[in-house]
């Protein structure tokens, strides 16, 4: 299934900042079910966020969407089913037509879509429906095994017998009838081949153009090294009050479900940061994002970005005529562990991107040092971060690991497994 990762970025209407902040607070307080824009009622939405970027020349509202299907499909859904909410967000924004005319609203939104320069999807190809369905499968099997154990019916059983019992249970459970069908592939063959062909074409083009590219790269490298020695870096830790504000909505660990408090596995991170001044960075950054995006489509399709196993959806995009870089991420665990993963496992890629933005820690050869300088990178990251005013997750209790594990349970449910395969499968339950 196609998935789309993008933002709608619109200027905030003049004099509307305070009113908009209040609206965002209302949505943020109950993202699933608020009366303004109840994200929970919109099908196919994995994660969404609303970020008020007020550090720009003209304040902008960034509406992040990570959805099943196409951009056009999602905008049509929004225009048709969330007109009132869109009015509350975009009223007063230049040219916003108002929800009376859904077609024009959709066209207006389409005109403000910002496609990411690079994005990552953890649960490649799996719809919201499938992710939730497979979690129910996991829970029902766990319930079945618990009851069997409690009744003493697991004693003395071998692994093949336990697996057979689980299979029998799933077959006999009407609400799990869907699990008997062959699961769709996580990534379609068309996507898989398409991404590789694109990469091959890029490499071939680069080879053909090598006589031109090599001198350009050589000159670029010299310029880069000179800039890396002199670019200003952040000198002071960010204001404690700024960090405290960010922490207000971080690491909550719990959300209010319909029947009481539930575990919240995820966090959201928003960052809006100006590029370093000049043409050089403005040209280099899109190139870095392009290469990274290609890698993300081909290499990082199995749930991990770099070696980071905890990212559901993340993307970088350029806004404000390329003057600001936005990073939006929906990830598992704490901010501190996410940044730790950045530093330990993905410093090279992150440095390549963020070294083009203001005050980034000292780098060498584009990818070295930078994010690997843990303390300074963390300070820089905090400084570049901004509050997420509203954030929605369709499955707040699920980590990326759990989603993959549930898919593996489902995919292996009725396949033929040898002893090792059975052992591995049982371990997932």
């Amino acid at each position: 299934m196609t998935q789309s990762v993008f933002s709608v970025v619109a200027d905030v209407g003049p004099g509307r900042a305070a009113e908009l902040a209040a609206t965002l607070a209302t949505i943020g307080a109950a993202p699933t079910s608020n009366t303004v824009l109840p994200f929970g009622r919109l099908g196919g939405l994995h994660f969404a966020s609303l970020v008020l970027a007020d550090g720009l020349e003209r304040p902008k509202l960034i509406f992040e969407s990570n959805v099943d299907g196409t951009v056009a499909g999602w905008l049509a859904t929004l225009a048709a089913d969330a007109g009132g909410g869109l009015d509350a967000l975009f009223r007063g924004s230049p040219g916003y037509p108002g929800s009376g005319d859904p077609d024009r609203v959709q066209a207006w939104l389409a005109g403000r879509v910002v496609q990411p320069g690079a994005f990552h999807i953890g649960a490649t190809g799996r719809t919201v429906g499938r992710i939730r369905q497979e979690q129910r499968l996991h829970d029902q099997i766990a319930g079945f095994l618990g009851a069997e154990d409690e009744a003493g019916r697991l004693q003395g059983l071998g692994q093949a017998e336990v697996r057979a019992q689980v299979q029998t249970f799933v077959r006999s459970e009407p609400s799990l009838a869907w699990a008997g069908a062959k699961p769709p592939p996580r990534e379609s063959l068309r996507d898989k081949v398409g991404h590789r062909l694109r990469a091959a074409a890029v490499v071939a083009t680069a080879l053909v153009l090598a006589p031109v590219l090599v001198p350009v790269v050589a000159v670029g490298y010299v310029v880069l090294r000179a800039k890396e020695r002199t670019d200003p870096v952040r000198q002071h830790p960010p204001e404690p009050a700024h960090i405290r504000r960010l922490e207000e909505t971080e690491d909550l660990g719990v959300f209010e479900g319909v029947d009481g408090p539930r575990l919240l596995a995820q966090n959201h991170l928003s960052s809006v940061i100006p590029l370093k001044p000049g043409m050089f960075r403005a040209a280099l950054l899109p190139l870095v994002l392009f290469v990274l995006n290609l890698l993300a489509r081909i290499v990082f399709t199995k749930g991990k970005l770099g070696n980071i196993p905890s990212i559901h959806f993340a993307h970088w995009s350029l806004i404000d005529e390329g003057r600001h870089l936005v990073f939006l991420s929906n990830f598992d665990g704490s901010w501190e562990s996410y940044l730790g993963d950045f530093i330990d496992k993905a410093a090279v890629g992150l440095t390549a991107v963020w070294s083009n933005t203001k005050d980034f820690p000292r780098t060498r050869q584009l990818v070295r040092q930078g994010a690997a300088d843990g303390p300074r990178f963390r300070q820089w990251a905090r400084g570049s971060q901004c509050s997420t005013q509203a954030w929605y997750s369709a499955y707040p209790e699920l980590t990326m690991t759990a989603i993959d594990n549930n898919s593996a349970i489902r995919e292996g449910l009725f396949t033929r497994l040898d002893d090792d395969g059975t052992e591995t499968w049982l371990r997932r339950l």
């Binding site: 405290r244 660990g253 539930r262 575990l263 496992k345 843990g374 303390p375 371990r427």
Partner: protein, 491 residues
């Protein structure tokens, strides 16, 4: 003009307080005095006298009483440290342990809510701690005498006043065990380059682990030295005034002197342990496994929860029985037990120090684990649990638990990380909504403790709610030169 001290990589143990080197396990009686500064000038005068009397990491452990000193950020302000210097302390020191966010990530809510703490909590400015005196002695009489002697000095001129009752730390008769009955403090980071003679603990020395397993760079524990990232561990700095001449320059901050050098950040938490509840839960879990026809003894349930047998022997090495002695601390998880069939993925010691536990990349995992180690310096408090048959009577008995103390140079990356990303993380190691079965806490309802087994995992109910925080503070444990500086700067 005094000579500017040159920063070297050599460990200046004579400038470090003894707590960096030892847990004072040779001195069974400890007293922790929470103090407030009355008169700042008197406090500075007292500090000037006592700075050269603190026990250092250089001195060999004997039988004489020892004194160490630590300050909260507020305490340093009371002492007269200017705002511009106070601002160089890391945020956890400035904000303290009880901001809403820290309470969330540390698991301090419900029974551990800072509003209910005995000390260090949310009881207002009058109750704020300024100075912590750590006294250690061989006998209770010697401890009392040392306390009286010290009090005569800091009581004079209203320098310090004690806040509430002193906190008494006592090794249990079975030295090295905590109140639930398990050997504690076995796995410690080892500082690269640390002189071996200074490695004292409450335990007989463990056989040396191969390089890399427990080794951390000095800057992970002591400020001013290179840390695991090859950068100096940045502590607080002060303006480069003549009074600061005997402090080394801070290479990362122009025109500043390194107040942190040879110091560390001390995390202090009083953790009450409900021994009756723990034993009852372990027995109930054992009974349940028996009823299900897959029996585990109470000893086995306890060992699965802790990840070590009562003796300290790791389950990875001794999956079936307690050999009766701690064994070696030289073990990983990746090779012997990657799926947790011996030591469960969510067992306490595996959460507190996951070592190389990873299916795909053990060496990188070990590297990353090394960045989140803490040097523990705690000991139990309260009398040992009496052996009584009536649990209700035992519960009415006095409180007992662990005085958790640890040293690190980056509280967020080390102590707090261990708490929220390992101990209290419901999704640690791919688990699905459960917390540490011995010390964990989480505001949302969590699932049972998973014990991997063949043919299919067990799930053990009821393993939570045994430990409650009763007090806590983040403190600065300065080096000796820094103590002297704090006593001399103009008021």
């Amino acid at each position: 003009m005094a000579q500017t001290p040159v920063t070297t990589d050599e460990l200046e143990t004579d400038d470090m307080q003894g707590l960096v080197a030892r847990a004072y396990g040779n001195l069974p009686f400890a007293r922790y005095l929470l103090c407030r500064i009355g008169d700042p000038a008197a406090a500075r005068a007292w500090l000037g006298g006592v700075a050269d009397q603190v026990f250092t990491a250089e001195q060999p452990g004997g039988t004489e009483p020892c004194l160490n000193l630590a300050f909260t950020w507020e305490g340093l302000r009371q002492l007269g440290l200017p705002e511009s210097d106070l601002a160089t302390f890391p945020r956890p020191l400035q904000e303290g342990m009880v901001t809403p966010h820290r309470s969330r990530v540390l698991g301090d809510f419900g029974a551990s809510d800072p509003a209910r703490w005995r000390w260090g909590g949310l009881s207002g400015d009058d109750a704020a701690i300024h100075v912590l005196l750590l006294l250690f002695a061989e006998t209770e009489a010697a401890l009392d005498q040392e306390h009286r002697r010290r009090r005569a000095a800091y009581g004079a001129g209203g320098a310090l006043t004690e806040l509430g009752e002193p906190i008494e730390g006592r090794l249990l008769p079975d030295a090295g065990r905590e109140h639930f009955g398990f050997a504690d403090g076995l796995s410690q980071p080892r500082i690269t380059g640390w002189p071996a003679r200074n490695r004292h603990s409450v335990h007989p020395p463990a056989p040396p682990a191969p390089a890399g397993f427990d080794d951390v760079e000095p800057g992970e524990v002591v400020l001013g030295y290179l840390d695991n990232f090859g950068k100096p561990a940045e502590g607080p700095t002060v303006a480069d005034t003549p009074a600061a001449n005997h402090l080394p320059v801070a290479p990362w901050a122009k025109g500043r002197r390194d107040l942190g050098r040879n110091g560390s950040f001390l995390v202090f938490r009083q953790l009450a342990q409900d021994v009756v509840a723990f034993r009852t839960a372990v027995q109930a879990a054992s009974d349940a496994t028996a009823a299900r026809g897959r029996p585990l003894t109470p000893e086995q349930v306890g060992a699965k929860a802790v990840g070590r047998w009562a003796s300290g022997a790791p389950l990875v090495q001794f999956p079936d029985h307690d050999p009766g002695e701690p064994g070696s601390n030289d073990f990983g998880y990746a090779e012997a037990d990657v799926h947790g069939l011996r030591c469960p993925l969510g067992a306490h010691v595996r959460r507190s120090n996951p070592r190389d536990a990873s299916e795909t990349n053990p060496s990188a995992t070990l590297e990353s684990t090394r960045n989140h180690r803490i040097l523990r310096r705690g000991r139990p408090y309260g009398a040992p649990m009496p052996e009584v048959s009536d649990p209700a009577a035992a519960r009415a008995d006095e409180e007992r638990g662990l005085l958790f103390l640890c040293l690190n140079t980056d509280i967020e990356r080390q102590f707090e990380f261990v708490q929220h990303t390992w101990i209290n993380n419901p999704f640690f190691a791919g688990l699905n909504g459960e917390i540490d079965p011995v010390v964990g806490a989480h505001p949302a309802p969590c699932g049972p403790f998973t014990v991997p087994d063949a043919p299919v995992r067990r799930q053990i109910e009821g393993m939570s709610g045994f430990v409650a925080t009763r007090g806590g503070a983040y403190l600065f444990l300065p080096g000796v030169r820094a103590l002297r500086y704090l006593s001399t700067f103009p008021g």
